[in-house]
Symmetry: C2
Subunit: 587 residues, 2 copies
């Protein structure tokens, strides 16, 4: 679009659409707080000018007492973690000051492949919020150990990078593939370099030569910070550190280490990564991260600079991140700088929308499996009609280790021993058999009902957790009927269901309703499981299936472990069969 109208308006030859008067500019370029009015036209800033010097505007908004900053830029997030489509997510965070988000639709891609990413792109279009799509790089995240809904290789990556609105390659999680220069990962990264796009990282736990190699491969950022020293090592390696709010306990030490550096790093940006829907509604996304970083000791101007200008530079964009002529009129008005108290927010010159249109069609009917019989969710040790058997155990939830346990078998079915439960993974994408893989798990506390979810990182097959196959089937079948979601079935059969009909990952309800439903689900989970905090069961459910991490993880193929390689049948008895040790009388 020609800038002729904007140029004219800046010179007083045409009126503004909107004028923000009486505010104080938080100038993230110079660090100054200074008085200026802002004239807006065609969604862009036309000029910053002396207070009161212009009055010609279709609308004049009084900003007296407010500090105006560029809208916040969330450098890495997954809308899926908030169970919301772009418009719903934006309806929460835009009024709270965030105006741009770099979305990695990794979960949609794992379910629906390129169609999922295309849906993400289309769903973001037209929403008064700037969604930049980072193309998922690791689908599936553990090739050969799980069957996701799709596979993305170098050719698919190159295709996505050609789409409008795709800004780069999303977190490169297959660190082992990068360090081994596997054809898949080398090809995917090369596609990003050829397109001149950002290649975002996931360098969890990497240091020393491994970190250097990972960066040498072409990755230029990381959000998987585990300590202050880790943050410094990543900065020294030349990575842009995407400091995230989702790991609050790390913030004090990381902020202190950064503030102790001789110069404040320009390669520091902020992100949320994952926020549960009720937390998102309560705290408002990146705004909360900015506030907490400030509370931990970062001067407000620098924290806001990380969330604005630094992020724009990282994104190689001249159109956001500063309150300056020609840039988007994405403006957050703060009633208090230190606490990042947001009074109002403008996106492209319009007050941020609090209502969202319904998500677009597509990605429904993602449950490619028939209802499950309770019998199918029982653990049936191979070749053991009855007796005692030793079986493998996935011990722990988010961080898993191998274990073993002895179980009693009767009529071919093993009863989970005390302290153990059952976890079933069922392929739901129609790309492999949907025979449930049922394993013993431990370390989850006592469960009195069943929990089922179609959010099961990263391939998002159907995961069912419990001790009683009948309750497990009840929860699972509720999800199959609902087209995906999360469900808790209590021992009395009472069902709490959060339908996620979009790819089995996203709700169709407005944000507030989704947040309430999620809170209800937390409460129901709290009633059936003793583990604290209650919502940890959801984090655990995503961790116990995350086969790209080392250690045993249950996938739709069995117990996968990238450290061992291959998949273990969870129903295959271990070692010398113990069944002969007992008589054949079932208890």
């Amino acid at each position: 679009m020609s800038r002729a109208r904007l140029v004219a308006a800046a010179q007083g030859e045409a009126p503004f659409d909107r004028l923000l008067t009486g505010g104080t500019i938080a100038d993230v370029a110079t660090g100054e707080l200074r008085a200026a009015d802002i004239g807006i036209l065609d969604g862009l800033i036309a000029s910053l000018h002396p207070p009161g010097s212009r009055q010609d505007a279709a609308a004049i908004d009084d900003m007296t007492g407010l500090v105006l900053a560029p809208g916040f830029i969330d450098s890495h997030l997954h809308y899926e973690s908030s169970l919301m489509a772009p418009a719903d997510y934006a309806s929460v965070v835009a009024p709270a000051g965030t105006t741009t988000g770099v979305w990695d639709p990794h979960e949609l891609a794992n379910v629906a492949g390129l169609a999922g990413v295309a849906w993400a792109r289309d769903a973001a279009r037209g929403v008064p919020f700037r969604t930049l799509i980072a193309a998922p790089s690791c689908v599936p995240s553990a090739p050969g150990l799980e069957v996701a809904g799709a596979e993305i290789g170098p050719a698919e990556m190159a295709e996505m990078l050609g789409w409008e609105g795709v800004c780069g390659i999303a977190e490169v999680m297959d660190m082992a593939g990068v360090l081994a220069a596997s054809p898949r990962m080398a090809g995917i990264v090369a596609a990003g370099m050829a397109a001149g796009r950002n290649i975002n990282g996931h360098a969890r736990g990497l240091s020393g030569a491994g970190l250097q190699a990972y960066v040498a491969a072409g990755v230029t950022s990381d959000h998987e910070i585990t300590s202050a020293e880790d943050a410094l090592q990543k900065l020294r390696a030349g990575l842009t550190v995407e400091l995230r709010g989702s790991h609050d306990t790390l913030l004090p030490e990381v902020v202190a280490a950064i503030m102790a550096l001789p110069v404040f790093p320009v390669t520091l940006v902020l992100c949320t990564d994952d926020v549960f829907p009720d937390e998102l509604v309560a705290k408002g996304g990146l705004r909360d991260t900015v506030a907490r970083v400030i509370a931990r000791g970062m001067p407000p101007m620098l924290a806001i600079r990380c969330a604005t200008l630094h992020a724009a530079l990282r994104l190689k964009r001249d159109d956001i991140g500063l309150l300056a002529p020609g840039r988007a009129a994405d403006i957050v008005a703060l009633s208090d700088l230190a606490t990042v108290a947001v009074a109002r927010c403008y996106v492209a010159g319009q007050p941020a929308a609090t209502q969202a249109p319904r998500p677009p069609p597509g990605l429904r009917q993602s449950m490619h499996l028939a209802p499950l019989a309770a019998d199918a969710l029982a653990l049936r040790p191979r070749g053991v009609p009855s007796g005692r058997v030793r079986l493998p155990v996935v011990a722990g939830a988010r961080f898993t280790t191998w274990g073993e346990a002895e179980a009693e078998v009767c009529d071919g079915i093993a009863a989970p021993p005390p302290g153990h439960s059952l976890l079933a993974s069922v392929h739901r994408h129609g790309r492999a058999d949907a025979v449930p893989r049922v394993a013993l798990i431990s370390g989850w506390g006592e469960i009195a009902g069943a929990v089922a979810t179609t959010i099961a990182h990263d391939s998002h097959n159907l995961l069912v957790f419990g001790r009683d196959p009948a309750l497990m089937a009840g929860a699972a079948n509720a999800l199959i009927a609902a087209g995906g979601g999360m469900a808790v079935m209590e021992p009395d059969g009472r069902l709490t269901l959060l339908p996620l009909p979009i790819a089995g990952l996203l709700a169709e309800t407005p944000a507030a309703e989704t947040a309430r439903a999620f809170a209800d689900l937390r409460a129901a989970a709290d009633r059936v499981i003793a583990w604290q905090p209650p919502y940890a069961v959801f984090r655990g459910l995503t961790g116990v299936s995350l086969a790209c991490n080392p250690g045993p993880h249950l996938t739709d193929r069995g117990i996968a472990d990238i450290a061992r390689g291959g998949v273990t049948d969870p129903a295959e008895p271990l070692g010398w069969p113990l069944k002969a040790q007992r008589d054949n009388n079932c208890a």
Copy 2:
């Protein structure tokens, strides 16, 4: 190229090409000075690792006692100002620490249009120095008032932006066109925005609403800083300030103002803009600017950060600006940080070349005009065979004003009155008549010979300065014979000639030889003209023809003035003819 070899080398699975050991890293990301060795492979940095931890390399260079920084990035320069082709320029500045330059081949474009820019691109290719071409935006810079060698409009700009190696739009000098949203400038800027490229500015003297409008148009940088307050206004307007070394007297106040800001601006980079060849050889390009900025009070780490990481961010490049894996092994080794004493420099992992291959063919034969008779360079007032006549005068050199003077005419030729000289502009591009336009000028001091140049900003027609048409023709014809350049003819006929056969702008000689020849030319100019400093005559010659500035300027069409509009015939007598006042006897 696949990064597999680099990834392997970083992990110790393959040797490096080169290893820099024992040095101290100036980490512009964190501001730390820290010990690390650097492994280099395939021209890239493979890893930074603990000192002594690796020894496997084809070559090991001992950096003990040296501080290693990323190679400097010159954010805006004209090789033409140094009269050097890319390889020659690089042979001077690369050993002195500069490894990347953003070249605006504005002068080549004014002479040869797109062919000039294509030559620039090709001449830079293969040189061990990273030249990024900024596509010239204002050719000619004063449309209708001069005839340059070519015209560049939106279509030509779009074409250039599609060329490999073209990084953006060069300084948008036609400020009036931008502020009036002229079709040419609006179209050119729109082409840059459509291509997502940097649009570099030239916002000389703009402030207030004019500055806001200029930035609103889409321009994102400025190097035409005139004061500390001007620098701050430009930063506040969201522009990246390209602080230049060519205006040394400004540096103290600008640096002081920047250091007084609450935060150090990331939108501050450094550039040289214009450096004469002998100064370039003596001081080494951007290295000298960095050193002077430090001497004026900027901490060395921040000054170097401006010249490296800030510039890379401005250029939207992840491959330069930091000493980090995967980035170019462009490394400067300093024996003293504060004085920026360069001990050695590597470009893409190789020691910087001090020898340059000869420039490529093309752009010779740019003098499209026949030798000039002395008679043609005389000032012949129209319709006045003899007597006294009042004529217009271009008063002053770099900053010109209108004047008038009375001259004696004999045999149709006006003798320049005392304190006045003659200036002739002759079209040399073959796109218009080559009839010399001869004007009276004042304010240049006494001249005893003649000076001629084919460097005459911005259309680079042939400019000849003197009092004696015979000497002027001697100097001019020497240039015509040489295919362009600069020449001084002394009263005894002694000629000092600096041939610039490439477009009449660039030398074919090695840098040192060009520098010596230019120094000789300065000395010769010093002998024939009293103006101090002697080299001011060359600046003056470029200023007196720079028709895009307000005030009278002599072009190949006559005396142009954008403030008045149109062209004035310098030989047209003013007011009531004075010729009747005198008899017809010539002195």
